[in-house]
Structures are given as C-alpha cells and as structure tokens.
Symmetry: C2
Subunit: 444 residues, 2 copies
C-alpha cells in the first residue's frame, strides 16, 4: 500500500493519490508522512480533506507538526487549531518553540487564547495538563429525549459522548450518566432520576499517576476534572491514560536503573541530557563502591596469604547483587501496582526468608560441587566460598525485599531501592561475610 | 464510611447495612469484603441486590470468590454465572480448583458449557483468552433507527455498546459503527452507507502484546476478534487491555531482573514458585561470574606485587555494571515501546559513544581527584584506576546499548540483555582492561 502511495507521489499523480489516501486510516497516513521528506510531507498533508487533515495532524511527531505549521497558511493553521481536540492542541503547543507558539496564538480567538494560557500553566504530569474541554454537559431537569437531542446537536465535536456530565448553573458537577443508560432508558425519564451521583472525580492539580490508578481500579473510560471550587473544568479520557501508564512505567524503569527519569524518547533526547540524567547516580554509587574497596584493603593480609580467595570475589558480589535485585524488583513492582502495602512488611520478610533459603541451598550445592570437584579447589576454601554464598544470598534477598518497603514508609520512592543501590549494599555485605568466614574457617 | 459498615455488621443491623451498601461503588464494596473474615464476607455479599452482587463478585480476589462460591446455593451460583460478562467468568473459572469448576459447570446450560470449554482452550495471553462474547451485532441493511432500537432492546447485557459490529449471515465481519455515529446521524440512513469498513481487528490466536500495541497505536476502546474463517467470535475492551499493559510491563521488569516472568502476584505466589523462577538465571550468572574470577586468578602475581589494586576492583566492576545497565535499560524500553527500531543500530552506537565520553570524563576526573588527592594513592596506581574507569564506562555503555538491538535482530527478547547479564559481561571486560593497564603503566 505504502509503495503505491510513494509511487503516485513521485509521479505527481495527485488526484489518484488523494483517492488512495482517503481510504486509509489516519494513523497509517501519519506513518507515511513521517517517512517521506519535508516537502513531500506538506504535499501529502495538503491533499487530505480538511477534517481528515486535523486527525492526521494529531498523530504526527512534533518535528513533522512544526514542519507543516511552517509551510501552511494562517487560515489553514486556524482551521487545524479550531478542530483539534483541546488536549491535543495543548500537547502540541507545549512542544513547539516560541515563534511557532506565537504564530499559533495569533490565529486563535481571544477567549480561546486565555484558555490556552490557563492550560499551559497546569503543572506537568497533573490532571489539568491531561484534560480536554470537549465533553457533553447536561442539566438534571432534562428528559432522556431532550438529552439525546442535545447530544445529537453538539456531540460531533466532543472527544467522548459516552459519559455525559450533569452540572448546575454554576457548573458544579451533580452527577454523570452514560450514553448507554440514555439509549436503553425510557425517553420521558428525567436525568435527575437516573443519573449516577456517586461520581469518581479528580482535581486539576492531582498527579497523573493517581488519576491512572483510579482508571485501573474502577475500569473507567473517562473521569471528570474539577477545579478548587468543585466546578467541572474538563475530562480525561482513557486513551491519554494509556499513555500515562506507559510513561510512568518508563520512569520506573529509568529510576530502577539509576537514572533521572525523563519523558523524552531516547532517540530525541540530546547527548547532554542523557549524560546529565546518568551522571548523578553513577557518581554516588562509584563513591559508595570505594568503601567496599576499603573492606578488601583491610583484609589485605588474608588475600596475601590465600591468594585464591580473590578469584571468587566477582562471583560472590555478582550473585549477591543479582539475588538482591530479583527480590527488590518484585517488591518495587508490587508496591507500584498496589499489590503490596507497607503493612505487608513481615509477610515479605518471611517470604524472602523462605525463598532465599531454597535458592541459597541450591546455589551453594552447585557451587560447592563445581569448585571442589571440578576446579579442585582446597576443601576449606571451597567451604568458605560456599558458606559465604549461602549467607550472602539470604541477606541479599531479605535486604532487597525489605528496603523498598522501608523507602515507601518514609515517603521515598521505592524505585531507588533497585539493582544499582542493592548491588552496592550487598557487595559490601558479601565481602565482610567472606573475610569473616575466611578468618574463622581458614584460621588466618 | 468503612467503619460504619463494620459496626453495622458487628451489631447485625442488616437492614441498615444493606441501605448503606447499596449507596457504595461496587469496587469499594469489594474492597470491604476483602477485609472482613470469611463468614462476614458471605453475609455482606448476600445482603447485596442480585445485580450488584454480580458486579461486586467480578472485582473480588480469586480467594474470596472461591470462598463465596463454596458458601452459596447452586441457584445463586447459576445467577452469578449467567450475569457475569463472559470474559470475567472465564478469568474466574481459569483460576478455580477443579472441584469448584465442576460445581460451576453443573450450574450452566449445555450450550454455554461447550462455549466455556472452547474459551478455556485458547492459549494463555492470546486474544481469544481476553475476549468477551457480549457485543452488539447489526446488519448492514438496517436503518439507523432500527439499529438504535436493536441496541435499546439488547444493549443492557452487552459489555460495550459504543462500538457495534456489522456482520453478514455467516457472521463474517463487514464493518463497524460507533454509537456516536448512530446517535449523531439521520435516523433513516442505512448502516451500510455510514459504517466504517477499514476495520482494525485481530485473530483469536494473536498475542496479547500485539493486541495492546494496536490499542495504543489507534487509540481504540474495543477491537473485534475473528476466527480462522474470518468470522466474528468476540471483542476485547480497553479495560482488559490496561491490565495487559501492566502485566507485560511486570513481565519486562521480572525478565530484566533475571527472573522467569509470571503473572501471579507476589503475595499470592508460593515460595516454591518464586524460588523456581529465580534459580535458573542465578545459576547461569553465577557460573559465568566464575570465569571473571579466572581473570583475577591469571593476574595473581600482579595483585601480589601491587596489593592495593584489589581494593579498586569492586568500584570498577560496579560502576561499569551500572553504566552498562543504564544504557541497556533505555534501549530495551525504547524497543518495547517501538520508539527504537533495529535499523537505528548505528544511531544508538553513536549516541552511546558520545554520552559515554561525557560520563566517562566526569567520573574519571572525580575519581582521580578523590583517590590521588584525598586517599593519597600512588600516582601510577591512580592513573591505572582512572584510565580503566574511563575505558570501562565507554565499553559498558556501548555494549549495553547495542546488545538489546542485536537480541531483537536475532528474534530474542531484548529484556534478557538487562542489568544482570550486562553486569556479568562488563565485569570481565573491566578486569581485563584493569590488569592490562596495570601491566603497562606499572610495568609489572
């Protein structure tokens, strides 16, 4: 399909091209526009029927959006801005450089401009920054028939009509009603008698993570957003929440690998930003790890007298780190999904105690068999390594399971208690256990 | 609110209790039932009006569902099974032990039993295992008015009525139409003329991750599921996809921490399962790490002659591992969200080259200042450690950025190229670089 489009574009067969384009899904057209070069992109975009062009525009990358805005007339810009859903417009404006924003604002009406400025001021990652203003509002004294007529007349421009919002004269939210209920109810029933007054809602400054967890908990497809005076100012729809969920997960992945979280895509992020996000934690962990080095320094004579001991340091440190990271990852994820609460502290401790016992036994046996029988290491050294391995795994898993819960208890983000930090802590623990065992068993 | 419910329950004031309960959201009632003990849970459940009881049931944990099924009459079971959405019923049956399943199947009609068996046979994580059969089907020769009448009559029992499916006599999917379009269109228009024929759909055996990415790409709220003969057999709705997205993310977190993925919640998983999921990777990594140990063994004389070198091994290994994990995490996540493609290989290499250069310089300088001026380590040793640190960071970040893409290229899961494996690889690299630098600079 795409080859056909590209061929028609090359041959400047624009009439045929337009016919092919309008048969496609807007998302796929956007994909094609992303692939061609700048001038061709503008040609393709301008071939689209006006309404379709707006939808396609909302699916383009910021880079391509800017390219198009720079190439079309003020009148075309005005049309796009009028037809874009408000939340898509805000997302777009937020990413544009100042001169583009100026050009856009010039082409919007004064009252809308005020509204845009208000939306641009909502904090990043707040409910306000996610919401749209295109929703259906009803009055409680309407009948079902009147409500449906109202939806028929105004619904086309709304982002969703499947949940309608019942408000009073001062825009205070009184209830919600689904289109499903309206369609399946008697036409002469009053909205007031059938609306749902037990509404789940959020405020403009609530954090997006909290909003997403309400969607998950109550299986919502939209949620109303109220201002400080409890007036309805917008709604958030599920498609934006899906993006929020992925964004929050990405941030957790980044934090758990010891980075400052960012919502800029990897390939779009500047080298400087990427470096900056990574350096802080690397520095902290590097300096912490030198303390681990001190432990080795302190036991220098032990290493000098039984040099083979040094050869097992990487294995003990790595296995301890891995064992601890496994536990901390499960607990951090459980906390994020609210499957584990801080009150489950002792449940986690006991669980990790039992799991680490099994894991410790299995790994220790395999290790002993390997180094004593295959690598022919002296019995006492083999024993020292094996006992250290067992104790390290037990401690690593318990520490790894417990630290994220403690972090949550102290209102810290549990995600910092992930692999990098756990590894650093466990390394130190492993070495202390190792040298203590060595001095006892080998009698050094 | 919950305190009031618990007090009424204790005082056996059931009439008042029922009045309080019916004012609550079903999700919140389910939360309360989870908190009280077994016999109280059954009392609360039985106080609920029949329809509400079914909704509440679908939000309960498997444990509490089983407890209730074991305590109510066959007739009550029959009612719940009839009223549950089909996908919720399948999810529930899949988690129950055999004797409960038997009890349930005894209470369902024969044709439904056949359907249940068919659904239970869809592979885990397939579209078939997610879909529900409660959707609205229309014929293309209906008018809008007829379609709305049909929805009015049958819509109450459907999981969603917001997207309707147009099928022919043999149930082949001919198009879809949204309720929004039906409500905002002229009543005498034919469905055929206004339906959307460019339908995004999946097949029963497609993987849930692919289904979720279609929802994200096209901002869907439902998707039709076809069988091998292209007949419509069910639909998947967005609420189930939100769960799939979280489940896929959880699996990625688990794989990236070196564990077998599982969708059982941490607190529900048995100790044996948890241990089993963790041991395989720990064993592989433990044995790999012993090869790292061999490197130390080979350079025993170097360590013997300059014993202080051993003290920096943990810092070099840890920093290298952390630097590599940062890069691999970003790239693995980028691949999962389809922000990075395999064709971006060289873009990633160049980016990591530049980022690691900056990061390497900063860390090396800090490290040199610290160990030479503060720890007063001999200049040549300080230089050896610093140069090793720089080279290790460069290599770690490039290896970390590149391995996930290579894995994807070879159709392996990029998530295995995460922290544990990268750490093991980078440890070996770091030690080889370290001892090579040491022999050159210190002239050992």
């Amino acid at each position: 399909m795409n080859e056909r489009i590209l061929e028609l574009l090359k041959n400047k067969n624009y009439k045929e091209l337009r016919n092919e384009l309008i048969e496609l899904n807007e998302v796929n057209i956007a994909d094609i526009i992303e692939e061609v070069d700048t001038s061709e992109a503008v040609i393709l975009f301008r071939l689209l029927p006006k309404d379709m062009a707006v939808d396609v525009f909302s699916y383009l990358s910021n880079e391509q959006q800017m390219n198009i805005i720079n190439s079309i007339t003020d009148k075309e810009i005005e049309h796009i801005m009028n037809e874009l859903y408000f939340d898509d417009m805000i997302d777009f404006i937020e990413e544009m450089p100042a001169y583009v924003v100026k050009k856009i604002l010039k082409n919007t009406k004064e009252d809308e401009r005020a509204l845009i400025n208000q939306f641009l001021n909502y904090p990043d990652n707040s409910a306000g920054s996610l919401m749209t203003i295109e929703y259906v509002d009803l009055r409680k004294d309407m009948t079902v028939a009147e409500a449906i007529k109202h939806i028929k007349e105004t619904g086309i421009e709304k982002e969703t009509i499947y949940t309608c919002y019942v408000i009073d004269g001062s825009r205070k939210l009184e209830g919600i009603i689904s289109l499903r209920k309206l369609v399946t109810c008697d036409e002469d029933k009053k909205i007031e008698d059938i609306m749902n007054t037990d509404v789940i809602y959020v405020h403009t400054h609530d954090d997006q993570e909290m909003v997403a967890s309400l969607f998950k908990k109550y299986d919502l497809i939209a949620i109303p957003v109220l201002d400080k005076e409890e007036r309805l100012v917008g709604i958030i729809t599920i498609d934006d929440i899906v993006d929020v969920i992925e964004q929050e997960n990405t941030e957790d992945f980044q934090k758990m690998a010891g980075m400052e979280p960012t919502d800029i895509e990897y390939l779009d992020a500047s080298v400087f930003t990427l470096a900056k996000n990574r350096i802080a934690w690397l520095l902290i962990l590097m300096i912490s790890a030198t303390f681990t080095g001190r432990i080795i320094q302190r036991y220098e004579e032990v290493l000098q007298s039984v040099a083979i001991l040094a050869a097992f340091i990487p294995m003990l440190m790595d296995t301890g780190g891995n064992a601890g990271s496994q536990s901390s990852t499960l607990v951090i994820r459980g906390l994020a999904l609210e499957e584990i609460k801080t009150k489950d502290f002792f449940k986690v401790v006991f669980k990790e105690f039992k799991v680490s016992f099994i894991v410790g036994i299995v790994l220790s046996i395999v290790n002993f068999l390997r180094i004593y029988f295959i690598e022919k290491i002296n019995f006492k050294v083999s024993l020292t390594v094996t006992i250290t391995l067992f104790i390290t795994i037990m401690l690593a898993k318990i520490v790894g399971g417990v630290l994220p819960i403690i972090a949550r208890k102290f209102k810290l983000d549990p995600a910092i208690m992930a692999s990098p930090l756990i590894t650093t802590i466990v390394d130190a623990v492993a070495l202390i256990v190792y040298f203590t065992c060595a001095t006892i068993i080998l009698g050094i």
